[in-house]
């Protein structure tokens, strides 16, 4: 958890430094699209790991909702970037997110049963909290295109719902 949160903080800090070097103070739309899409893909992968590992009904149902919802949002995002003729641009934030997710995946792979469930759901709470924070304070304010901004705002509402859902499942597991 500590490792992941540190990496996440570093990822967010990178948004500033990378752009600071370019003389701008915020990510561009192609970068924002890439970060948001990556964040979704990573959560889908985590959910698939949970579906394959967990035997807990509430955990599996939560994970299935993550797959269903993030796939729906990402398919909307793909439609939008196509329509806007924007090519999502890989960046250090996306890379750091992917790296943190891979570390977590390996960590979770060593666990099973109630230990896995607890670790996965707690991670989901923290992950959504982190992504929502980034959406609220960085990505949404920085988005230039109105439709991209609106999709991110919809995403924020959804992910806040996911966070509450994860918090609820976490309470049930205690």
């Amino acid at each position: 958890m500590t490792i992941r949160l540190t990496t996440a903080a570093a990822a967010i800090a990178l948004i500033f430094t990378a752009n600071g070097a370019l003389g701008a103070d915020k990510p561009t739309d192609p970068q924002i699209a890439h970060i948001a899409y990556t964040a979704g893909v990573l959560d889908i992968e985590a959910a698939k790991q949970a579906i394959a590992t967990s035997k807990n009904k509430a955990v599996v149902e939560f994970a299935e909702t993550m797959v269903r919802d993030h796939e729906a949002v990402n398919s909307q995002a793909l439609d939008l970037v196509k329509k806007l003729n924007v090519t999502p641009e890989d960046n250090d934030t996306s890379k750091a997110l992917s790296q943190a997710a891979e570390t977590k995946r390996q960590e979770l792979a060593k666990l099973s049963g109630a230990e896995f469930d607890k670790a996965y759901v707690e991670h989901e709470v923290a992950y959504h909290k982190q992504v929502n924070g980034a959406l609220e304070t960085l990505l949404i304010p920085a988005a230039q295109n109105g439709e991209l901004k609106s999709l991110l705002e919809t995403g924020l509402k959804l992910f806040q719902g996911h966070q509450q859902h994860a918090e609820h499942v976490a309470t049930e597991l205690k």
Binding site: T65, R68, D69, A72, V73, S75, Q76, E153, T154, K157, L158, G161, H162, Q164, H165, H168
Partner: protein, 105 residues
């Protein structure tokens, strides 16, 4: 046979028109960005609720121990209110989405 049936239908429609004030209604609830609007509705037995899902996500309107109305992405779902009472409902996939229906006799 056919003319007789139309006559009955006409009569029935005529009666319904006269009794308009108590006719069953459809109450529309919008689902947008994971929110039911209006979140609270008051209806009477025989009315229908129609949830119009504007999200690109699958939702439900699920009454605990009762009806479970699927609301596919960008589609609607309906429920005929058959009994009076006070009902909380949620989305099974997004349990933080909450709504309430008061059904009067």
């Amino acid at each position: 046979m056919l003319p007789a049936r139309s006559a009955v239908l006409t009569l029935f429609l005529g009666a319904a028109a006269v009794a308009a004030p108590s006719r069953a209604e459809t109450i529309e609830v919008t689902v947008d960005r994971l929110v039911y609007t209006p979140a609270e509705i008051v209806a009477k037995v025989g009315d229908e609720v129609e949830w119009v899902n504007k999200d690109a996500l699958i939702h439900t309107a699920t009454i605990k121990g009762g009806a479970d109305v699927p609301l596919p992405a960008k589609k609607s779902g309906r429920l005929l209110l058959q009994e009076a009472g006070s009902f909380d409902y949620i989305c099974r996939y997004h349990p933080n989405m909450k709504g309430h229906i008061t059904v009067r006799p």
